[in-house]
Symmetry: C2
Subunit: 276 residues, 2 copies
């Protein structure tokens, strides 16, 4: 059942990832309520002991990031994340880790650090190693729903590039070169994954700071690195939504238009001049 | 003095063209009134006998196109164009030609056909050749303000590409190859012009149907044709505004994102779901 005042902006699913990303927006109260209901529903229908997919995961509801949009701040989102974490443990009995701006420990800022080992390893580790204990609840993970990783962060672009090869080492090698942790682009997380259903490999990415590292720059580098091995890009995929500014940055670059900005767009100009 | 209910969306001027494009929007009545005032003001401050510029021109207010935006139709714009034409003649004594969707004769659909010869030739021609007589008023052009070419048309993208050469033949040759009248892209009008103040040449374009011939496709072809002669693009310029969809089409293409559309953009999705 929906929550009044919340709109579902997007839902993207993928068979190989066996994962669904749902994006919803609204005022803080209704969004928090919808998030709790989403956690409850996921825990009812997903048993991680039976779940298979190529994407790393720790929980039935795996990640719950709050993102400030028009009219709210990162601080609002941090407070919402902490409130959501308390409620998920109190009402659903699922322990919670906090990440990014909502992290309580510096070693949990990065999502991939929190998720390392995933459900299958962490469910045992938390019982013997205090350093992996959840931030709220636990220490044991929920037997079927694992744990929820709750955070506050800027808008993220989840973007995948498929390559016309079955050779997974190509995707893994490119992912390693472009990601921040390998000395690549700031704010880029990347994995090489096999898309078994399509017989190709994929560079699967999260861009956590698209204004610093624009999506078209990352695309071009992946294309270039692939070409060095005689491989081409089949197509790209966007998971969820992306901010308008990302399209405008790519447009400026593709057409060498230094004078172009958001206010060069007819509809944006009309909105600015008539709605505010 | 401004007209209530009309917002000026953009004003772009260029010294070499010696020309200013003003874009304004509003309800039909106020926009019509603002258009008449613009024609009057231009006729007061510009004397075509003294005016110099590299862009073809026939009138002090040279072109007055009405463009349907949200909530109005092309038929509305045709009627506004005809009403504006009558008023410009009756109130200002400046004769009018109608073009594109507002044209009364098939040989006047294309703006460049109407403007051929420009002020300097047409001011004499209309007196001896009935086929060049204005649609409203005249037949003599106004002695200093010429004639206004009034039309109704879809959104047009005015887009210039500067090349790092002083050789005007390069720009003229590329313009000839890409424009519709030379067998190039549908809906593309192009001229090769010298930008004396900057020491480069320019391919100056109007794209009258950007959904059929996208701006990024034209850019790429100009870049390719220039490269064949060892010349590169210095930069591009947008004159006035462009529709959001043009940026989204370029984004889809640049990133091989077949699934991308306007509703993949966060802000657009929120607007669609919350404002309508």
């Amino acid at each position: 059942m929906g929550v009044q005042g919340v709109v579902v902006l997007d839902r993207t699913s993928d068979a190989d990832h066996n994962r669904t990303v749902i994006t919803f927006a609204g005022e803080q109260g209704p969004v928090l309520e919808a998030a709790i209901r989403a956690a409850r529903k996921a825990s009812e229908v997903i048993d991680l002991n039976l779940h298979r997919g190529i994407h790393p995961r720790l929980g039935a509801l795996d990640v719950l990031p709050f993102v400030p949009l028009d009219g709210s701040t990162m601080q609002d989102c941090i407070e919402m994340a902490h409130e959501a974490g308390r409620r998920i443990w109190n009402e659903l009995g699922i322990p919670v880790y906090f990440y990014e701006a909502a992290a309580l420990r510096p070693d949990r800022i990065n999502l991939e650090d929190v998720r390392r080992g995933q459900f299958d390893v962490l469910r045992r580790a938390v019982l013997v190693d205090e350093s992996t204990a959840p931030d709220v609840g636990g220490p044991a993970l929920h037997p079927t729903a694992g744990a929820v990783i709750v955070g506050a962060r800027k808008v993220l672009i989840a973007f995948n590039i498929n390559l016309n090869t079955k050779d997974l080492t190509v995707a893994k090698d490119i992912a390693r070169r472009i990601r921040a942790s390998g000395g690549g682009f700031p704010g880029v997380k990347a994995l090489g994954l096999p898309l078994l259903s399509r017989g190709v490999v994929q560079v699967s990415m999260n861009l956590t700071d698209f204004e610093r590292t624009p999506v078209h720059i990352v695309y071009r580098e992946v294309e270039r690195l692939a070409a060095l091995q005689g491989i081409t890009v089949t197509e790209s995929e966007l998971i969820g939504l992306l901010p308008r500014k990302a399209t405008e940055m790519a447009f400026t670059d593709a057409l060498k238009l230094p004078g172009f900005d958001s206010q060069s767009v007819l509809e944006n100009r009309i909105e600015t001049l008539t709605c505010k």
